[in-house]
Amino acid sequence: MDLDKLRKTAAEVVAREDVRYLLGWKKGTFGYRIAPGFVEDAESAAELIFSPLCTANLATYLTLTEKPPLPRGQEPDDRKVAVMVKGCDSRAVTQLLIEKGIERESVVIIGCPCPGVVDHELLAEKYPETEETAELKWSDKGFLLLQNGEETEIARDELLAEKCRLCRYPNPVVSDIMVGEPVETWEPDDDQGVAEVEGKNAEVRWEYWQEQFSNCLRCYSCRNVCPLCYCEDCILDRLNPTWIYRSVNFSENTAFNLARAFHLAGRCIECGECERVCPANIPLGKLNRKLAREVREKYGFEPGVDPEAEPFQASYKPDDPEEFIL
């Protein structure tokens, strides 16, 4: 990735009068951390990076940014927001377009073809983080770690995030500007990465999820970080009526986790953010990918790929299978 080109492009974009700010990745405050950056000028654009550490899906900020009540007489700032996207992130933008969650004219999409990012936990486990901010680059073998003045070659398979192993769209599916050449796609090793759980019998599976859901802290980080969880009036927050009690116990946790998974069926674009941020390490990706696979196999729908598509949950085809409907 040519960082100079990226920064130059970003600087040009934020200089445009119709652009409010640009969402990009910056170095964090220590170790391997990356901080989402809200770039408003060329100076700040010069701090942008794109590396295998850039896991965060910045498309989430397109719907997350709050609009506080404006002082009287002040006009809302309707300028465009520019956003840097990897392949998976671009699918989030596309899905938002499909659902009319955002307008095409309201965004400038800067596509970053993506050779795959790392699993941060694995990285920190194998190559302990230090207080110095480290760099990680893509290399021929996989990754090149620059830490405290030392260079370490790391094989791709050793650190590649699970979502990336399974990725079928590393090149942005929608963009206004592309930085860098498209990458060569790869074959996901096992379809959707759910085979392992699927292979077990119902009882074992149930036990597995029981244990996982029991750990849930109901912090709702998974919802907040999700680019497609953007309902203004989420049923989780609603008190009247209360759909899911706030008590943290296995049954309420399960109700919550399943409700969220179902709300995302046919909408989740597999960016893996929920799983990344979950402080209880719940393998949410497995759940979402299982549903994604069902939707794809049964209904032939894949979210976040074609901006002209009908939203899955709002569309009906005469030949849709119905056997699971009671």
Partner: protein, 282 residues
């Protein structure tokens, strides 16, 4: 009194009487309630400005101003606007039904310190709920105060609370009572206009006077401005804050405005004190 053993345990109380003050989607209903336990009834003490957590078991609790003065008798009064879950459930209660009460919470209007002064209350809508005990308290101690003026307004005459008391108030020559509604109505022979404007028209002297106000935020803002124009000093003005509350005893953290816990350090504040609290007018 606050349950010293366990302040989260409420007392049972029975609704003795109840009536609607206003109608519509956000109706206001008043409840006169009496504690079931005689000991609590006897030992309960509250003072104008304080509130209580009232609730319905199985639904929840809400912080509500105690809208009667202790001088009125061994009962409590609450006037509740129908907003969400708990207030809707409260609205379904009829005489003989049970509710739970815990408290009293919060500080008090310093009525003892105000002895000898003229008291001016300025209320809007449901904001009259904490004003009413002040009025009642002064009414039963006229000798100790320099006079009593009450300004109270709402959008329409139907939105005014405590209407059944106005008639008697108008006969009380020690009370200067000024009612107002926002828009002209037939058969309304009081003022028409916003509360802050009525205040200006009345032009009360700040001399030896304490002004107390409660109502919608926008009203409070203009009332404060106007009181300043009339020459009131910051420490002659009092108001109450309304922040979300859960525990009422300075534990749950929720009600803070800056470094104040509104449930403990409030809800009554002098304007002088509020100016030091950055979040007070958020």
């Amino acid at each position: 009194m606050i349950n010293k053993e366990n302040p989260y345990i409420p007392y049972n109380a029975t609704v003795e009487d109840t009536w609607y003050e206003t109608g519509g989607e956000r109706a206001i209903k008043t409840f006169k309630v009496v504690f079931d336990d005689e000991n609590i009834r006897k030992s309960w003490e509250h003072f104008p400005g304080q509130c209580a957590m009232i609730g319905v078991l199985g639904v929840g609790e809400s912080m509500i101003s105690i809208s009667c003065s202790p001088t009125e008798g061994e009962f409590l009064r609450f006037s509740v606007m129908r907003m969400g879950k708990v207030t809707q459930a409260l609205h379904q209660l009829e005489p003989g039904d049970k509710m739970t009460v815990r408290g009293p919470y919060g500080n008090k209007f310093p009525l003892d310190q105000w002895q000898g002064k003229h008291i001016l209350t300025i209320g809007g809508g449901i904001g009259q709920a904490p004003m009413r005990p002040v009025v009642e308290y002064v009414k039963s101690n006229y000798d100790n105060y320099g006079g009593l003026t009450m300004i109270y307004g709402a959008r329409t005459s139907g939105d005014l609370c405590f209407k059944e008391e106005f008639e008697e108030m108008s006969k009380d020559d020690q009370l200067s009572c000024h009612l107002t509604i926002d828009i002209e109505e037939e058969q309304w022979d009081h003022n028409v206009g916003f509360v802050p404007q009525i205040l200006m028209d009345l032009n009360p002297s700040p001399e030896n006077t304490i002004a107390v106000t409660c109502g919608p935020p926008i009203m409070i803002r203009f009332v404060l401005e106007n009181l300043k124009k009339l020459g009131f000093e910051d420490d002659q003005i009092y108001t109450t804050l309304e922040n979300r509350m859960k525990c009422g005893i300075g534990k749950c953290g929720r009600c803070n405005a800056g470094n104040m816990y509104v449930c403990k350090d409030g809800p009554v504040f002098s304007y002088a004190a509020l100016k030091e609290v950055p979040e007070a007018f958020a």
